[in-house]
Structures are given as C-alpha cells and as structure tokens.
Symmetry: C2
Subunit: 295 residues, 2 copies
C-alpha cells in the first residue's frame, strides 16, 4: 500500500514511524518552523521525523537525540551567545552537515535524502518545499517568527497564523500525493504544521483528490504535545476538541481517527492514539491503514 503522511513534529513523527513499518511510505514534512540559529539551518520537524525513524529520538523531550550532551551549548552560553534555543552536541552534527550541504548549493530535499541515508532511515522523507516558507504567529505584541513565539516566548496567545512566502512544493511532493493509495494527516498541529503544507501550490488540490485519513492531535480536550489546545479557542472560536480539528480539515478528510471517548462527525475510528514505543506506533499505524481501506 502506497501511503503519504503529512507530518509536523513529535506526534506526527511517531505515527510516521509506525507507518514506515507497515506500508510503502513517503513522509512530507513541515518546514515552516525552520530557522537559522548560531549560523546553522535548523529544521526541527525534519529532524524529529528523521531521528524518530532512525530510532535516535529523545523519547522524553520530543526533540533532539537521546543520550545528548551539551558541551557546545554550555560554552556558547559561557561566551554570552544565544542560549534561548538548546542545541545538543549530537544533534549539532545534523545541523552542521545540513548547513554545509545547503551552502554548497544542494536543495533541501537532496540534503534530507543524504541525511536520511547517513542516519539509516530507509523510508522516503521529503521536505514540503525547498525554499523558505516561515510560519509566523500574531500575538498581542505583534507578529512573531515561529521559534520566537514557541520557544523564546513560550507560546503566548495566538490570534492568527500565517505562512510567509510561496515557494513551489519540493519535487516529488505533489506526485507522491497523487499516486498514493492513502494520505494520512498525522496528529500534528493543524494551524502551524499541516496548513503550512496544504497551502503550497497544488498540494491542497492533490490531497482533496486523494483518500485521506487524519489522526487527532487532541485527546480529551488537550494536545498530546505543544500549544494546540490553547490555540483552538482563539483561532476556531470553539473549545479545543477533536471535533474542532475535524471541522478544521472539513471536506479534505474522508475519515478521522480519535481517542476513545472523544467525538467527531463520522466516519471515525476510535483508537488509543497516544503512542509510546514502536509497538504502539505500529499498532496505531495498522489501524489507520485498515480504516483508510474501508473508506
């Protein structure tokens, strides 16, 4: 079964890890929160997806690599450098390598392909686009770039989310969606991760023409990870529920997977959607795929 997953950070990455065990998978990853830090190009969602697929992800913090050390960070801090965004020593190898390759003129998709190869990731991972498409968030103090909003200011109330720039989707993105048997929208933040991808030229149309299952990132009124639950009331004018996420996707989605006890208009599949280790991920992935086949 040929499947395309649209994924943001940690929740998305875990489902993707399950799907990679269960089907022929292409993962399209949000790059809206990519940014430059310490002179390096940082792609948080790509890294989370790659590290998770490589079995290297830090299981607790939802970003970075397990068994991390902080020698560089501590020295940068001691030297009075920027310390609002933590980069671990092992993680830095990825950022250095990526930045070096990008500066040599390689497109992000090729850089990602090489990083995946170097990390032993065998399923296909595509950045949503090659060029910059930064997500910005409007708060009471004005528009903030994504990492300033999320990490530096710890996600103050968001009143609007916007993607700046209109690059082409990366080569292979639209084609992968068009030729997929199923598109899975992973349990990622619809406003800051998924909309960023859907807004790229041709992507919404291709997804609209496909069979699509979305997995809820909201469980019992709370986000499994991140600030989504606090965003929904402002951005959708309704309580933070799985149904609000389902409504956000509207006609684009043919089936919705949500937690036992949560509600949304059908067709739905109720499942345990909080994923721990690989077993959980594969179980949920198989359920999502089987559900998709019934639609």
């Amino acid at each position: 079964m040929k499947v395309v997953a649209l994924a943001g950070g940690v929740g998305g990455a875990r489902l993707v890890d399950g799907l990679a065990q269960a089907c022929e998978l292409t993962t399209i990853v949000n790059t809206g929160d990519d940014f430059d830090h310490w002179g390096l190009r940082i792609c948080p969602d790509l890294d989370t997806v790659m590290y998770t697929l490589a079995g290297l992800a830090n299981p607790k913090q939802g970003w970075g690599i397990q068994d991390e050390t902080w020698g560089t960070f501590e020295r940068v801090q001691a030297m009075g450098g920027e310390d609002w965004f933590r980069l671990g020593d092992r993680d830095l190898a990825t950022h250095l390598t990526r930045t070096h390759w990008l500066r040599q003129g390689l497109p992000l998709s090729e850089v990602t392909r090489r990083l995946c190869k170097a990390l032993g990731v065998t399923s296909r991972v595509l950045p949503m686009c090659e060029g910059a498409r930064p997500t910005t968030v409007r708060t009471e103090t004005g528009w903030l770039d994504f990492q300033t909003w999320l990490v530096r200011q710890r996600a103050p109330q968001a009143w609007e989310v916007r993607s700046e720039g209109d690059p082409e989707p990366a080569v292979g993105v639209v084609d992968a969606i068009e030729t997929a048997d199923l598109v899975v929208i992973a349990p990622s933040n619809p406003y800051v991760s998924v909309d960023s991808m859907l807004g790229l030229g041709g992507v919404r149309r291709a997804v609209g023409a496909a069979r699509v299952v979305a997995v809820s990132p909201i469980v019992g009124g709370r986000a499994v990870k991140g600030p989504l639950a606090e965003m929904i009331p402002n951005l959708a004018g309704r309580p933070a529920t799985a149904a609000a996420v389902r409504a956000h996707y509207g006609d684009l989605v043919d089936g919705f997977v949500l937690q036992h006890g949560d509600d949304a208009p059908g067709p739905v599949l109720h499942e345990e959607i909080i994923m721990g280790g690989r077993e959980d991920r594969t179980r949920l992935a198989r359920a999502v795929l089987a559900f998709g086949e019934t639609l």
Copy 2:
C-alpha cells in the same frame, strides 16, 4: 614595557601567556593554517593562543579545550562525515561563533576581539591579516594545503613551504610592531608560522627596525612540538639545531634565547625554555624581557 609577540601554536601560546602576565602585550598570530571544515572557519593558532590565555587550553594535546567531549564528532563520524580533523564539542562553540560573525561580514580582527572578550582574554590578540593567506607545503606527492599535510597526512617530508595570497596585514599589526619596545618571536615553527607573518607587506621591515628577541623552538635537536626538526634538514640543508633557527632569522633578530646546552651565535640567553604551567611561562617571559632590555 610595550611588547609585540609573533606566535604560532602551542609553544608560542605558552610564552605569550607568560608575557601577558609581565608586560603590555599585543600578540600577532599566524593564520596561515586556517581552513574550512564542516562548513566552519577554523583558526588553529588563534584558538590555541586564546584558549591558553584564557586558561582553557588542553594541557596535554596542544590544541583544543580541556575536559572536552566528542558528541558532535562521534555523530559526524557515524554519519560518514569527515573525521580526519577532530573538533571537540566545547571547541565547536568557538568555531560556530566565529563562522557566524564572519558570515555577518565582520573582519577576522573584530571577530577575534569579540571572542577574546567572550573568553575573558584581556591582552590584545591580532590575527596577522583579515584575508586568506594559506600556507601550503610541497611534498613528494606535490603541494598540499597545510592541514592536509600536517593532520591528514601526518607531516610527510616537506621540500618547500609557501604562503598563498598577499593580503594586507590586519589593521594595527604594523603599528603595534613599530611602537613596541620589544618584539618577541615566540618558539613557533619559523617556516610555517613565523615566515607567514614576516612575509606580509610591511611586517618584515617593521620587525627589522625593532629590537627583536627570538626564542628557539628547537631543544637538543628536537622540536618541542610539531614537525619542525624533520623539516630543517630539507629546508635549510643543515641539521635541526637551535643554531639553524637562529640562522634562519638572520639579521632580523638581535638576541636569541635557547636551551642550556644548545649553541647559537650571540647575543644569546640560555634558559630552561620548555614550559609547563603558568609559573614556567612567566619565569621564561620575564627572562626574555630582561634579556631584550640589555640588547
């Protein structure tokens, strides 16, 4: 007493550290072995001088920072990246910061001033020039860039040493030499470290007009550190002795400091010139300064 030191790597850095305790010091540092690695600008001699002055230098290996960790390096290695030149995690903070500032358009002298400030180095450190002036070495297999020769190929027989490019000396270099009461040529490799500086426009003339003491990098026919002793027979056509180094500097030098038991034409000062900790360095520095005053 206003003193300028011309310094390369570890031996030079240790004397510089002693001089910094004993006089008003400007250190001019060789940048001929600077190179790009992992997309970062690496300035080995500047770093050795700064780390030594900051009390951070690794006392054993002669490069890098003490109590180093290798998280980034090990990941780069695991990913199949370039691993012939080791960069530690703590050391990386310097390279990242420098590269970031250089990419923002700051000249190397300003970057170095800021790094010194961040590292708590209070004496003045100047790169010899802002632009590139790479040292290359001719071996049996042809011309090699410096780090390829020294680190990657472990210093095969050198038949010629050349500095490529002819940038201006950094702002302040010639002026510092011209206004110094004494110029000290530190115990660094004359061919690959000191000649690189002397060959810059105006530097040899300014040094020639100054009172100059050189400290021997050869002790009992061996280099205290590095491949100098193996280079002298090929490059000077005579055995590797302190006298060969003295002859290399010729008229430029007014007095020469060398190890008890070694010989060179006078005026000379015999001293214990192998330096361990700060006490050794300050002792030798004070002896060098006092000797300089007698010339």
